[in-house]
Amino acid sequence: MLPDDQRTAIVLKEYHGLTFQEIADLLDCPLSTVKTRLYQGLTVVRRQLQEAGVESAFRGPQ
């Protein structure tokens, strides 16, 4: 399960299209924290998708 802070960052970025700065303002945290949470969140989602065997479908030809 995705930690709440990472989940929030991803939802605001992916589904609401906010910029890093807007997310930082909204969550009242440093810009670097937003980027870190996004990176960590995406990495978690990627790992979970890979475990579920979904990711391969979206990987381009290697």
């Binding site: 802070d5 990627r46 998708l49 979206f58």
Partner: protein, 264 residues
């Protein structure tokens, strides 16, 4: 250069300055690991973009009604309502041809004008559909009156020209109360009878045509109303769907704010 994950995220979301972009592009040229990571995270984002938050529990279910179940194309092309309307128009056209009618669709509804009406008073404005029944018949009656006057004049002239003419046997008439061939009638009486018959048949024809026209108009109007109602239903349904979408968005934002609240 060591692998900078903040730059990588910025690169992924296209939020780098030009110099940062160049810097990371150079790094990607050298670092196989970061190239693979960017590619995989892009794939993850693609997957996230395909994913939609689950439907919120609204406490009710949005169900498509049978009326809107048909695809838009079929609704317009083979709707029995429009078939009916087309049939009504055909009937109207046929009736118009018979009665020398003039039918126009205007802003204030349909306008029906009859040939008799025009002959009597060409300057008269068109008559709106429902009252046309009485008005056109009245106009027709007036026209008939003039014809009858002319016939009377002709009749008088004839009787003056040929005063000694023999009487004729009356033509049998099914609608007449008089027995066929029972009486010998004068010219004047025969003419009078003929006039009556003609007058009756004309009146009958006029009222039949007028009735048909009014009937056709009613059918057309009913079809139009039904279609309006159907459209209205479709619009309401769309409103419902849009409201559901708004609700979903709001629900998601609320969740985000709740999470933010928890975090503080």
């Amino acid at each position: 250069m060591i692998c900078d994950k903040e730059l990588l995220v910025g690169y992924l979301y296209d939020e780098l300055t030009r110099s940062e972009q160049n810097e990371f592009d150079r790094h990607l040229g050298q670092c196989r690991e970061c190239r693979a990571e960017v590619e995989e995270l892009r794939a993850t984002r693609t997957h996230l973009a395909l994913w939609r938050p689950p439907e919120p529990d609204l406490g009710f279910e949005i169900v498509r009604r049978p009326a809107a179940a048909a695809s838009p194309a079929s609704r317009w092309s083979i709707s029995p309502i429009w078939g009916l309307a087309a049939a009504a128009v055909l009937v109207l056209a046929a009736a118009s041809a018979i009665a020398n009618l003039e039918v126009r669709a205007g802003r204030d509804g349909f306008v029906v004008r009859t040939g008799w009406n025009r002959a009597v008073d060409s300057s008269a404005a068109g008559v709106a559909a429902p009252p046309s029944e009485s008005r056109s018949v009245d106009a027709g009656a007036a026209e008939l009156q003039t014809i009858l006057q002319r016939v009377t004049e002709l009749e008088l002239r004839l009787s003056r020209e040929r005063p000694g003419r023999d009487s004729l046997v009356a033509v049998a008439d099914t609608s007449s109360t008089q027995p066929a061939g029972a009486a010998k009638l004068t010219d004047a009486e025969i003419l009078k009878r003929v006039r009556e018959i003609v007058s009756e048949s004309e009146k009958r024809q006029q009222s039949v045509v007028a009735t048909r026209v009014v009937q056709a108009m009613r059918e057309l109007e009913a079809a139009y109303r039904t279609e309006l109602v159907r459209l209205q239903q479709g619009i309401n349904q769309n409103h419902g769907l849009r409201d559901a979408e708004v609700y979903r968005q709001r629900e998601m934002l609320n969740q985000v704010y709740r999470l933010v609240g928890q975090q503080r």
